[in-house]
């Protein structure tokens, strides 16, 4: 089973993307998935977590995710103990930053840096980085196809924003693949 933990702030779409990844893997990818937020009251701007579990067989685990395979940080101001908790040796951290050098060698884990904010501003005109970060994640992880993610965006997002988000995931995915 692959377990992904998303770190963002309320309003940045971190749970939306946890859900879209699950939808891509299950509805379009033929696998099984679970997606859930950190449970509790929702507040704009407050740190929130999203979780996605993906497996070849039905997922019956209902306990919290304690060790994850991928950590995706939508907002680097959240970097700290919560991002660095529950890591395995081979957990990959994907962080949205314009200064990748800040993260080189600071932990043993592999870190993939991408300037999701810049891409989002270019394409969406707003600093909403969730689809860019999904692109980076699947480029690194390869456990869900780009096509299935595009289908999830097309069917899971409002039509008026889906098109641009497909452009955004494409660009982020290719940027990480080529790096």
């Amino acid at each position: 089973m692959i377990e992904v933990r998303w770190h963002g702030r309320g309003g940045q779409g971190s749970f939306t993307i946890a859900k879209l990844l699950g939808m891509a893997a299950s509805v379009y990818g033929g696998k099984y998935a679970q997606a859930f937020p950190s449970f509790g009251p929702e507040r704009r701007g407050a740190p929130v977590l999203g979780f996605t579990r993906i497996d070849e067989k039905k997922i019956t685990d209902r306990s919290e995710v304690d060790r994850c395979d991928y950590v995706v940080v939508l907002d680097e101001t959240l970097w700290g103990d919560s991002v660095l908790s529950g890591l395995k040796k081979d957990t990959v951290i994907i962080v949205n930053t314009d200064r990748p050098e800040k993260y080189s060698g600071i932990v043993e884990n592999k870190i993939v840096a991408i300037d999701g904010t810049k891409l989002a501003l270019e394409i969406l005109g707003r600093p909403i980085t969730n689809t860019a970060m999904m692109g980076a994640l699947i480029a690194v992880g390869g456990f869900v196809s780009l096509d299935d993610c595009k289908k999830a965006i097309e069917n899971g997002m409002h039509a008026r924003i889906a098109k641009k988000n497909i452009l955004l995931i494409d660009k982020a995915y290719n940027m990480v693949k080529e790096a």
Binding site: F39, T60, E64
Partner: protein
């Protein structure tokens, strides 16, 4: 095969209710049930569910309204949680005593004080004596399927009893997963429109409903209610079998045993913790340990015979309770012990109380429970009541 959607437990409830075609939905929103009733109000608004949506002023009114609907022979749905269920409480025995086949979703949530919006089963356990059938589901698919089964069971002329479908707050209501949506025409075949001929307000056949009965007749009403609740087991099992034949998903009626063959120790669960426990059972079986799992689907009627029959050869039985009956023990534990006392050779029993106010029950916790059960089985005395994953003990 119906289409598959990636949706939450709350969405699944709403989809199931839409397929069951109630005439009226009366509800008051409360976390973590809110999304279920929001979806239903959207479905009424967009015309995909031809029902009346009544946004009432309180939970008490929500059920009172559902009783009005049911009394004219129409299909009623309501949903609540926690303090909302308790606020509604006065109406619960009214509805069950009047034999109204209302279906309610309850999102299991903690009770104040301390105020807490997370999941446990204190709320529905509070109302276990309300005369409602109580079923507990394990995932979103079962939630959807039970909305459809619930009307068929509740409206059966030999049952005529309201039914509460419980799903764990947040862990089920707010988790998204793959759910198959049955086709409407197949649901229509399985669940025809409600047809209450004997017991409704009818100008051509006037009668009195919600009557009073003094000491000359009251007891007869209550004993007949009890007999029908007990006899509903046959209907519950029959409806589940028919549902499986039609839609390909069987839930084994009252309870489901998982790897209980030759098990030395068996853990009894309800709701979502069952899924996590399956993983631990599989892992321990790999190690050659003789462990099994028994999922209780229904708490009322209580599957006493099924429980005793499943665990009769086990040495030790554990019971997970996400509730406490203060001053005694977990409510399910009390019920299970009462069922087991009928056996000639009674297994030892241990109560694991956990998951209160949303506290996680981890795979490690469940592993510890099995370890304790196995120790007891090998003669090493264990605490009879154990509190899991808590800081204030020892």
């Amino acid at each position: 095969m119906g289409k598959k959607l990636f949706i939450s437990g709350n969405d699944a409830v709403a989809e199931g209710v839409r397929l069951a075609k109630p005439h009226v939905i009366s509800a008051y929103p409360i976390t973590p049930q809110t999304i279920a009733v929001e979806r239903l109000s959207e479905m009424v608004e967009d015309g995909s569910l031809r029902a009346e949506y009544m946004h009432v002023e309180s939970e008490h009114s929500a059920l009172a309204c559902a009783m009005g609907v049911s009394s004219v022979g129409a299909r009623a749905f309501t949903a609540t949680s926690s303090q909302g269920l308790l606020y509604m409480a006065e109406c619960l025995p009214y509805a069950s005593g009047a034999r109204m086949p209302i279906v309610m979703m309850n999102a299991n949530r903690a009770l104040a004080t301390p105020w807490n919006i997370y999941g446990d089963q204190m709320d529905s356990m509070f109302l276990i004596n309300s005369g409602w059938i109580q079923v507990y589901v394990e995932d979103a698919q079962e939630a959807l399927d039970m909305m459809i089964q619930a009307y068929k069971i509740a409206e059966h002329e030999e049952v005529m009893t309201p039914m509460m479908v419980n799903l764990d707050g947040f862990v089920l209501t707010h988790t998204y997963e793959l759910v198959e949506i049955p086709e409407q025409n197949k649901v229509d075949e399985f669940l025809p429109p409600i047809n209450m001929t004997k017991q409704k307000m009818d100008v051509d056949n006037p009668k009195s409903l919600c009557i009073s009965a003094g000491n000359d007749f009251n007891m007869e009403f209550k004993i007949k209610q009890e007999m029908d609740m007990k006899n509903s087991v046959t209907v519950i099992e029959g409806v589940d079998k028919e549902f499986g034949d039609k839609f390909g998903r069987y839930y084994n009626g009252m309870l489901e045993e998982y790897r209980c063959e030759d098990a030395q120790v068996i853990l009894i669960t309800t709701g979502s913790v069952t899924g996590t426990s399956r993983i631990v059972v599989d892992a321990l079986r790999e190690e050659g340990k003789k462990v099994g799992l028994l999922k209780l689907r229904y708490l009322r009627p209580f599957p006493a015979e099924g429980i005793s029959d499943t665990v009769k050869n086990a040495k030790v039985v554990g019971v997970i309770d996400k509730n406490i009956s203060f001053g005694f023990e977990g409510t399910i534990f009390t019920n299970v012990n009462s069922a087991l006392i009928t056996l000639e050779k009674t297994p030892k029993t241990i109560n694991f109380i956990g998951g209160l106010g949303g506290r996680d029950i981890t795979k490690k916790n469940i592993d510890e429970m099995f370890e304790s059960l196995l120790k007891e089985a090998s003669g090493e005395k264990q605490e009879r009541i154990q509190y899991m994953n808590v800081r204030c003990m020892g």
